[in-house]
């Protein structure tokens, strides 16, 4: 008994130490930092203050960034869901060979670095990029479309990068729905569309919610893609946090903004779990 308990501690020990030293300690330091006063002349002071949070939440400059980030996360999540659902259904219903191929194709982009992929999108989306050149050449447009350094570019990039996560979470969720249940609804006078919305979607809701939370949280905290496809002047929370730390050297302000982002993510996960628990009351875990 005692021995097995010691063995258990031994097994989780290394991971515990790593999390304490590598995650918890920096977080505590950051939390303290976000509560320090700051002035342009003296830098980080020694007094405790809430002014960093008040600045971030009371200034329209920051509020606009927060709202823009949340809107971006919402749009990316919805697009991933709309694009991912049919793909997940296809993967589930197709023959075994195509199934493996399709899953590999979904995973494949994940093997490629985000910076490289974002550069790829720049090549495609820039004013003299592949897409605009092709459309101009075909005579479909007379001036290049603004596909980059704006919301459109960031959305395109983020959707492409996070779509695999959504698909990989939706496939097992859909797999768990017994075929007979959908057949039963069909024989009970429901059209295929109605079966989809009253049976398939509610029963897949655990996967839909998990996938959506993941994509949303990854989107609102993404740094590289918004920076590269949004351009230097397109600000979201992650790029602003980066700028506060690295350009403005206002660490307390950056830390406060980072914690606001963290709290938004945590609140969202909590709320989504509540919704999920209600929706899936009847579904065995």
């Amino acid at each position: 008994m005692t021995q097995s308990r010691n063995a258990g501690l031994g097994l989780i020990g290394p991971a515990t130490v790593l999390i304490l030293a590598g995650f918890l300690a920096p977080t505590v330091i950051m939390a303290m930092l976000s509560l320090r006063d700051y002035s342009g002349m003296q830098g980080i002071g020694t007094d405790w203050t809430l002014s960093n949070y008040i600045n971030v939440l009371g200034d329209w400059f920051y509020l606009e960034i927060i709202l823009r980030t949340l809107a971006l996360g919402l749009i990316v999540t919805l697009l991933c869901l709309i694009l991912g659902f049919p793909l997940a259904l296809y993967i589930l219903r197709v023959g075994p060979l195509m199934q493996t191929t399709a899953i590999l194709l979904v995973i494949f982009p994940l093997l490629c670095n985000i910076v490289v992929r974002s550069f790829g999108w720049m090549v495609l989306l820039s004013p003299r990029g592949v897409i605009n050149e092709a459309l101009l050449g075909a005579g479909l447009i007379s001036t290049p479309l603004d596909l980059m350094f704006n919301l459109t570019g960031v959305i395109i990039g983020l959707v492409q990068i996070y779509l695999p996560f959504m698909v990989l979470l939706l496939v097992p969720a859909l797999q768990n729905i017994p075929a007979d249940v959908e057949a039963a609804a069909l024989t009970l006078r429901s059209s295929r569309i109605r079966v989809f919305f009253t049976i398939t979607v509610p029963l897949a809701s655990p996967g839909i919610i998990t996938g959506s939370i993941l994509v949303f949280v990854l989107s609102i905290s993404a740094l590289v893609t918004p920076r590269m496809l949004g351009g230097p002047t397109y600000r979201v929370m992650a790029t602003q946090i980066y700028d506060e730390f690295m350009t403005n050297l206002n660490w307390p302000s950056g830390a406060a903004l980072a914690f606001v982002l963290t709290f938004i993510a945590l609140a969202l996960i909590w709320a989504a779990n509540r919704v999920a628990a209600h929706l899936t009351r009847g579904i065995p875990a």
Binding site: P178, A183, S190, P202, L279, R281, G282
Partner: protein, 353 residues
Amino acid sequence: MTSLSLRSLTKRYDTATIVNAVSFDVEQGQLVSLLGPSGCGKTTILRMIAGLLEPTGGQILFGEEDVTKLPANRRNVGLVFQSYALFPHMTVFENVAFGLRRQGVKGVDLKTRVGEALEQVRLGALADRFPRQLSGGQQQRVALARSVAPRPAILLFDEPLSNLDAQLREEMQIEIKRLQSELKLTSLFVTHDQHEAMSLSDRICLMSGGNIQQFATPEEVYFNPANGFVSGFVGSPNQLSGVATEGGVELAPGLRLASNRAQARPGGRVRVTLRQEDLALAPAGQAPGLAGRIALRIFEGASVQYIVALSGGPEVMARVSSRGPQADLPVGTEVVLSIPADRVFVAPEEGAA
């Protein structure tokens, strides 16, 4: 309520024929069982009738109406699944109300109709539960209520009792029989269990390899099997091989049985089916018959099963009443086995036919 007719219904996948031009009728209010081993095409037929599978050829008629091309949601059938297939995210009430709502039943009317359906399966008190809070038997009763509530033209059962344990199965069997005859629902019941088929059906459609082997009343199927497959499938048969003789069969050199049900030419290899319950057993010398020795005695409650090694031949199983005179023969007893000539089913060996 209406009758159900199949006309040369066929299902093929590539070159494999699963259902081969099957035709039969289920009269209004009757319950017909589709009985057969797994892979005989019975579930495929059921799914085609429900509209969940598209037939390769043939017709499905509900009364006079050809529904072959109609999608599942417009067919007005009720289907009870082996897996229950309840909607796990809905309460029992919502499950039963699901089909009724699609028919436009609302408000007080809906409550009454759902209540009635749940009363019919004696589950009125559990309307607010979720399916996972119910036992397997209760879940299947909800599924039954759900499928009869919209008053379907045809009620289909896909091995609904297979997931239940023995005692519940018998209870559900009675439940189904009672509900079906009360509501006079035209029903088709798919099963691989001959006892289920026998006790529930007005007619049994015995299938094998996508073909109908016999379509008849349970009594007819049991007492007058149409062919070797049927005699080997119903009852508790001994399957032996032998050689056909004039007016009988030879199981082994010197072991002859008279048969007036021989469907084979003398001299050919044949399959012999002897039902355990048809074999009469007596201590050696007390009666004529095949000589043998009791190798094993198995007490089963209402009956006793003996494994008898025939002298110079195969082992056969015989079943006698546990209150009868032959219930206490110990292992090693020399016995004679006899069987009436009309209970010895002889059919050409498969492949030789």
